[in-house]
Symmetry: C2
Subunit: 759 residues, 2 copies
Amino acid sequence: MHELIEKGTPWTLKEVGTDPEVIKQNETLFSLSNGHIGTRGSLEETHLTPEFSHSKSTLMNGFFDTEPITYGEWAYGYATHHQTTIPIPDGKKMEMKYDGEVFDLTSSDAKDHNRTLDLKKGILTRSYSWKTENGHELEVSIERFVSYDYPEIMAQRFILTPKDDNNSLEVSFELDDLKSMGKERDKEDDPDPRKKEQASRRFESDDLEFYDADMLHIKTHASGLHAVVGNRVVTDNDVHQQISDKNRDSLSFYSKANQTIVIDRFVAYSELYKEESLTENIIDNLIRTLKNVTESGYEKVKAEHISTMESFWEHSDIQIDGEPALQLGLRFNLFHLHQAAGRDGKTNMSAKGLTGEGYEGHYFWDTEMYMFPFFLYTQPEIARSLLMYRYSILPQAKERARTMAIANGALFAWRTINGEEASPYYPAGTAQIHINADIAHAIYSYGEVTGDDAFMLNEGLEMLVETARFWLEWGHFDDNRGGAFVINDVTGPDEYTAIVNNNYYTNLMAKKNLAYAIEWIEKRRRQLPDEDFNVSQDELTEWKKAEEHMYLPYDEDKQLTMQDDSFFHKKVWDFEQTPKENYPLLLNYHPLTIYKHQVCKQADTVLAQFLFLDDFSKEQKKRDFDYYEKVTTHDSSLSRSVFGMMASQIGEEKKAYDYFMDTALMDISDLQSNTKDGVHAANMGGTWMSMVQGFAGLRVDKGTLHFSPQCPSEWERIVFKVRFQKRLIQVSMTPSSTDYQLVEGDQLTIIENGEKKTL
Amino acid sequence: MHELIEKGTPWTLKEVGTDPEVIKQNETLFSLSNGHIGTRGSLEETHLTPEFSHSKSTLMNGFFDTEPITYGEWAYGYATHHQTTIPIPDGKKMEMKYDGEVFDLTSSDAKDHNRTLDLKKGILTRSYSWKTENGHELEVSIERFVSYDYPEIMAQRFILTPKDDNNSLEVSFELDDLKSMGKERDKEDDPDPRKKEQASRRFESDDLEFYDADMLHIKTHASGLHAVVGNRVVTDNDVHQQISDKNRDSLSFYSKANQTIVIDRFVAYSELYKEESLTENIIDNLIRTLKNVTESGYEKVKAEHISTMESFWEHSDIQIDGEPALQLGLRFNLFHLHQAAGRDGKTNMSAKGLTGEGYEGHYFWDTEMYMFPFFLYTQPEIARSLLMYRYSILPQAKERARTMAIANGALFAWRTINGEEASPYYPAGTAQIHINADIAHAIYSYGEVTGDDAFMLNEGLEMLVETARFWLEWGHFDDNRGGAFVINDVTGPDEYTAIVNNNYYTNLMAKKNLAYAIEWIEKRRRQLPDEDFNVSQDELTEWKKAEEHMYLPYDEDKQLTMQDDSFFHKKVWDFEQTPKENYPLLLNYHPLTIYKHQVCKQADTVLAQFLFLDDFSKEQKKRDFDYYEKVTTHDSSLSRSVFGMMASQIGEEKKAYDYFMDTALMDISDLQSNTKDGVHAANMGGTWMSMVQGFAGLRVDKGTLHFSPQCPSEWERIVFKVRFQKRLIQVSMTPSSTDYQLVEGDQLTIIENGEKKTL
């Protein structure tokens, strides 16, 4: 795929030819989405040519079905149900019969086949010239986009130019074969836990109900979710015959040489809803939406879409001069990040966005720690929606805490869609209680960056309080450690070390979580002295005590931060004797074999230090970086970006650059060999963080914006914008200097490398 | 069930009446077995009266089927298949039709219904008087036993005395309904992991093949095991009509008042075998066996059985004067222990013996640590067979070590039948690597007690070497602990504390395992200097270094032995706030909730100290006992006996007595409320250990037999025999004195409380 970048321009990904492997790979890369619906970049006639497809799914954020989890051996409190995203009817499908022949890429004679994803416009185009067996030619051009302006709408335009007269041309559209939906995915006998658990049940006929006007009502078997899909086909050309039944629209034309036929198609996907009785309303709304867009017409809807995309890039682009390949890779990442986020406060961002079914479509800590910063600093309203999703599942988090014998507070699920824990392996699931503090950290950052006190003093504070409460009960003051507050039997971010005591990252984040709750409770008491928030002075005192006495493991002899109490007592993994094909270790070694060694899947202590850069001396950070880098495999896609950012901040320029190049091009060059299952959305977020928080060193400390820029000497110039407390600031960074420009808002003082600058 | 003891005599368990609950409970207690086959104590007509039965299974030691284990989330090296004991055709079934009426206990008029299990003879009898609706009476008496002399044979005698003339009496026998076998078990929606995983597949018609002469060949679906079952019915009485087809024998008589009809039945169960081609041979052998027993006749076979049982009691009984209820309970335990042991070197003892399908019929460390001592000191040939079973699965143990990335050595499966790991939950499965040392400990003890050098220098040594090798690779010399040998990420016996570093029990046992291997390698080198055993001097040196530097965690401040590195850093479980119904904790709290507290399911450190009583000062043992007793729930049936034995040895007489009474009567009084699933064989072994190793303080130290008797003042006298180095010694213990008598063998010096005594 690498060629694709080098030959491309900084705004487009181009595919030329008909190599099935390339087209398959691009099914993921060419995915289009708007955070509500996402559709993979498969060919319109994939149903005829399965060899060109890995999975042609269309997905709806938050649409999943459940199945009971089967355990080899059950234990109390285990997650009870799989939640598995299931594809919805795929509205991309088209079948074309010209001159008596059905087109498919395998057996038809297609010349100049190419596809282009225009990142700037958010449009995927395809064109080719088809010669039938009788030697008659048809020029074909197809466009596709998923609208941000109408979240329900996917639009397609088909431009067909016959080169001869009087051949019959029949074009048919239908929703995908509903019963097998998702089942045509490449079957692999692969137990890789990172891939999706294939939902064994898809839709059955009972779950599908056709209404008039091409309206299909779908419902899940077990999770109680509903949605409606509608379909409209429009053409201004002379139609010889049109046959429409509920699932199929078929148009016949007679060709006139060089007279172009244009057909537009709008497929509308309603919001998902839970009460069947709402169906009629939902259908009415969807009909209205379809009427709007057909009346506006394809051109106008497309123009709106392009304008919205341009406005997105205006505020969110990172411009990198003199590096077209990297520039493209970077934009590709931002494009997909932007596509992945749920915007309705009821959905979030899954680990693969809406580009694939990997990880079952679950939401993880990835959102808050890797993807959230991008939105926070460029589109804070989306950041708020993402936090509102967490607020919407707070009741389930409280319930989960009760299951874990915690009487007060909340424990957010490690992986979930509907808020209930769906991780069937608790040592790398429920044990990762740091997710509570990760969410608290995102909330606090949101408050600092946006100044949105309305949220912070209510929903935000409620979450800070419930997560803080959790820590007090999970941990305890350990008399054997002079009363330090310890947190036992947890798993930190590094999943190659599980069920340990006092994971440094977890403890530090819990300390911050407590501090955040204390700060905002006190702020609320000042601002709303008469309104009780149900936190007693005694409770606050306990929080302060725990915060102050939080145990943070440190090895005085080695002068190193300890990942957990026992990390240095483990044997260092024998990297030299480990053949390359044995990575990732998790697929080739028993968990105990991994856990009993010093070996990290990903950044853990280094991440903790990166998040609070100013709390540690440069020497300390460097020592820890050097130590942990040696024992980290980066088997997680979340790892390299963090090491890269830290490298940048401790003066390891070469390493910073190398790590960055790996992360920036991870999916576009399929570094993890599993891009076909979907993009690595968290790593894409990591790319933005690497640029802005790594190389530019952006961070907020005590309400003030800091920068410590380190532009790699390989690059001419980097330009990006960030929003901060109602300002818009443009940063231009070269290896020798950095310029800050206030684009919108009031005067602001920032700190660059310890020195104040007023913009 | 308690009444049953108090009203009984010290040799018999008697059941009177027709209370379904009592009869159900006794299905377990009245089980009969010979280590090869076992049959639960259900009624002959249970197929007509399911309300009297929990499970009427007949089981064959080692006969199981496999199914793939389904995991919520897979990981490398996980156990791949369930191994589940499956019931074999049940040969107890009988149907009786008298005077036109079919007898069943629910609807028939049965007077004086009673059953007696004679422990001394190993025979279960049943009798009642049945009056039909027409008022005609039939006296019924049924006997049943499972032969030790003919391991294949289960025998029944039916003695039927009509009280009137000329009524038709039809008696039918068949093998149980084969397709539903085992499925009639009480259905409970109970995820308790301690219960058996119900094998979802039983026999299907393909797995059943009838041969001539009532010979049924059965095979498992997946595990590739075969067996043959044969059936013979014999009577000397006038038979009016006899109908025999392959699965059914039916005899008709006309009654003559007070003239007794006697029918004998022998059901023969072949050994299990793996090659289908052996079937004809196996059938021939089984026909021969059936011919032998039918020619000998029921009376003779029964007399042989009784004689064998008497000889067993002669050597294995523990007599306790003045306590008839306890005496009965004790004998009941020894009876079942004796019944449970596989004697063929290919099978072992399952956690429930052959009395139920609990724990899927798996073999655990229970054998070596709780049941083995009884056999070692009373029937060492059975002890040897049990060790030979481990030797037979050594290849699988080596393979398992490879899976765990251990290049040399063996790791025995935590739970298994065929030698492959079958534990689907590795934190309380594979992580309990102490099983390696447990087996080594049993081997070493066997060598000390029997002097069987032929075994020790070959099979025994090979196992000592392979287990020793394992420790060297799993653990390592920790520079951060001054080069001490540490063993990380294991679970000790206490399953309420999992995946810890340096579990005291594990480390001490590993140290001993190394010492055992070193001692016997050196012994072999002396005895067979020319025969290499494939252990280099370098390897031996490493073992010695690890043995010498084994890290044994100890808290100098508290003067307490640490169960593991982090045990004292955990919060003590809030026992006061834990309602009674929340025990056992494992059914009511998430594993993490349990693991992050100081709370023990069972003896762990205390067991380590009990096994090496002379390595610790009495004060140390008392401090540790006091500490760990407070945090132990005894949710495992393996716990109380160990605490009791230690109590006895540290002068806690009252506690020793109380713990003992709980363990001795555990099944007979259903203390754990799950006796219906089968007896707790390990606890039964614990009873023998409590008497002999607890109260009498028997142990071997440096080849010498030690005693430190502490007969509870509640008892008049305890008498038992032990075998030691080809001697038979009788010990008579009263609260004031102990007498040792050499019954067989050469003069021997023993040590009683530090003082030598020559017998």
